[in-house]
């Protein structure tokens, strides 16, 4: 049995819209989502009454005690359909990590199966008032009893442990990670919608930043924001009649279950071993390999993920990503560099959770990147960790 995706290149992205990314938007998240969805539908050359499918991933990814309220701190597929006054044939949310790849898979499967013809896929991110990850818990039951009483809590320590494991094992320097931040922020600074528009970061600024959870500093983390993106998907046949050049979904993979661990415990070997299985299935699903990809947009919600994806995707040998980036391997302004953060990533846009990677694949492969347009035919959009996330392969051509 082949692992090739049965609907490879049969469903396409045909339009998009992206809100401005802000620390705190003036409009409520629901209103921002409605506006963005309407603009995406118009961009695709469609009318709202033609949309018969709605898909999202509604996770509000905070470790804090913030309330989750539909239309306020998250926006579900049904909330969007209801408030657009549409009664869709299909509405679903992806429940899991690797939200954009997961949601894309749900949307593509629905279209390939005939459950919907035109799907709006959105992601609405919210930055609540107060500390994003601060939690006032006074007792820890369930899974957290094994970690919170000793102060192991929240995603900064979560990523600090495998990153330090990497640093110690392979001798990775802060100067190497500075190259990642400089690249992400330089590209983010070029995007009018980015929170970091016009604000690149220098290596010196990165190196001067104090640690929060060694070896993680503030700049290694994407900044929480209010922001919404929406994409329109349809079948390759229907896409041919729409205004923009379609970008086809060639294949996808979500991570296999990882080794059972303590909450938020992500040892480096788990990330790499399970991550390699994720990418093996990704290539099998899409029918291409790493050498054919010319736009590998890696996830960078925390900067060490850039190393982990570069290595699990097979773009550089294990343990070598830090040298690779230090040697200009991800300098997207150089013909010798791989454009892995050309879309700015999360570090260069704000916490848009896999949207920047997907959007860069869409814009470049559809020929809609304007002054930033580069030659690219096959893209990968990654999200979260290779062992606890997912990725999608996009193509400008059907193959």
């Amino acid at each position: 049995m082949s692992g090739r995706f049965g609907a490879s290149n049969q469903v396409a992205l045909v339009g998009y819209a992206h809100s401005v990314v802000q620390r705190h938007a003036a409009a409520p998240l629901g209103v921002l989502t409605l506006d963005t969805a309407r603009r995406a539908i118009a961009d695709a050359g469609l009318r709202t009454d033609q949309i018969d499918g709605f898909v999202t991933a509604p996770l509000f990814p905070t470790a804090g005690a913030h309330a989750v309220e539909d239309g306020v701190s998250t926006v579900s597929a049904t909330w969007l359909a209801d408030n657009l006054d549409v009664r869709p044939r299909y509405a679903a949310g992806f429940q899991g990590i690797g939200q954009m790849p997961g949601a894309v898979a749900v949307a593509v499967n629905a279209i390939a199966a005939g459950a919907a013809d035109y799907v709006v896929l959105h992601r609405a991110m919210h930055n609540p008032p107060g500390r994003y990850h601060g939690n006032p818990m006074t007792s820890a039951g369930g899974a957290q009893q094994w970690t919170a009483p000793q102060g192991y809590f929240g995603p900064l320590s979560m990523i600090a442990l495998p990153y330090n494991e990497y640093v110690q094992r392979y001798g990775a320097s802060r100067e190497a990670m500075a190259a990642v931040l400089v690249e992400a922020r330089r590209n983010g600074a070029r995007l009018p919608w980015s929170y970091w528009h016009g604000r690149p970061l220098s290596a010196e600024e990165y190196l001067a930043e104090p640690m929060i959870s060694d070896p993680i500093c503030r700049y290694d983390c994407d900044i929480p924001v209010d922001g919404v993106a929406a994409f329109v998907l349809t079948s390759a046949a229907r896409a041919a009649d729409l205004p923009h050049r379609p970008v086809y979904v060639s294949g996808y993979a979500t991570s296999a279950p990882a080794t059972r661990r303590l909450p938020l415990h992500w040892p480096l070997d788990d990330i790499m071993a399970v991550g390699r299985e994720t990418t093996r299935r990704l290539w099998e699903s899409a029918g291409v390999g790493p050498t054919e990809v010319d736009l590998p947009q890696v996830y960078d919600g925390f900067s060490p993920f850039v190393y982990f994806w570069l290595e699990t995707l097979g773009l550089c040998p294990p343990g070598e990503a830090h040298r690779f980036v230090l040697d200009g391997g991800i300098d997207s302004d150089s013909p010798k560099g791989l454009p892995v953060l050309s879309g700015g990533g999360a570090l260069g846009n704000g916490r848009m959770h896999g949207v920047p990677q997907m959007l860069e694949c869409y814009l470049q492969l559809a020929g809609r990147a304007g002054e930033r347009q580069r030659t690219a035919t096959i893209g990968v959009a990654c999200q979260s960790s290779p062992h606890y996330g997912g990725a999608v392969v996009y193509s400008a051509e059907r193959f």
């Binding site: 102060g151 494991e165 104090p210 040892p267």
Partner: protein
């Protein structure tokens, strides 16, 4: 008085763990079917996949090696503001390959650490009858 740290809420499965910790003994759940140590104990055994693992808590040496660490300089939970900066170590316990536990390293943030350093369990008495497993560098005292 400073804000207390979050206290563990023992449940049906974990009660023996916290009772032993209160006596400064580290016990780890062991599957009755395949004898593997499991942390944390869930509904099934991750090693033999038994749905009826009947975990029993057994005392372990409390020794292990440092697989990674971080220095926490900003607290996200109550009760730790006065503790920062503090070190958390990711420890592989001696009893079983990849049996890993995370705890505070009580030697302080200035302690020089390397991968593979030996550590031993120690306990922090955080409330009457409540002790939290942690680690110190070196062999058991």
């Amino acid at each position: 008085m400073s804000t207390p740290r979050p206290l563990p809420v023992p449940d049906e499965v974990s009660a023996p763990y916290w009772a032993a910790a209160a006596q400064h003994t580290l016990v780890i759940a062991r599957c009755s079917r395949c004898a593997s140590f499991v942390l944390p104990p869930g509904q099934t055994c991750p090693h033999c996949h038994s749905v009826d693992p009947r975990f029993r808590f057994e005392p372990v040496s409390g020794t292990g090696t440092v697989r990674s660490w971080t220095v926490v300089r900003q607290a996200f939970l109550p009760g730790f503001d006065a503790e920062v900066p503090f070190v958390l170590v990711d420890v592989e316990l001696t009893e079983q390959s990849e049996l890993r536990m995370i705890g505070r390293l009580l030697d302080g943030p200035a302690a020089a650490l390397r991968l593979g350093d030996r550590v031993s369990v120690a306990f922090e008495d955080v409330a009457p009858g409540v002790s939290i497993p942690a680690f110190t560098l070196g062999a058991p005292a």
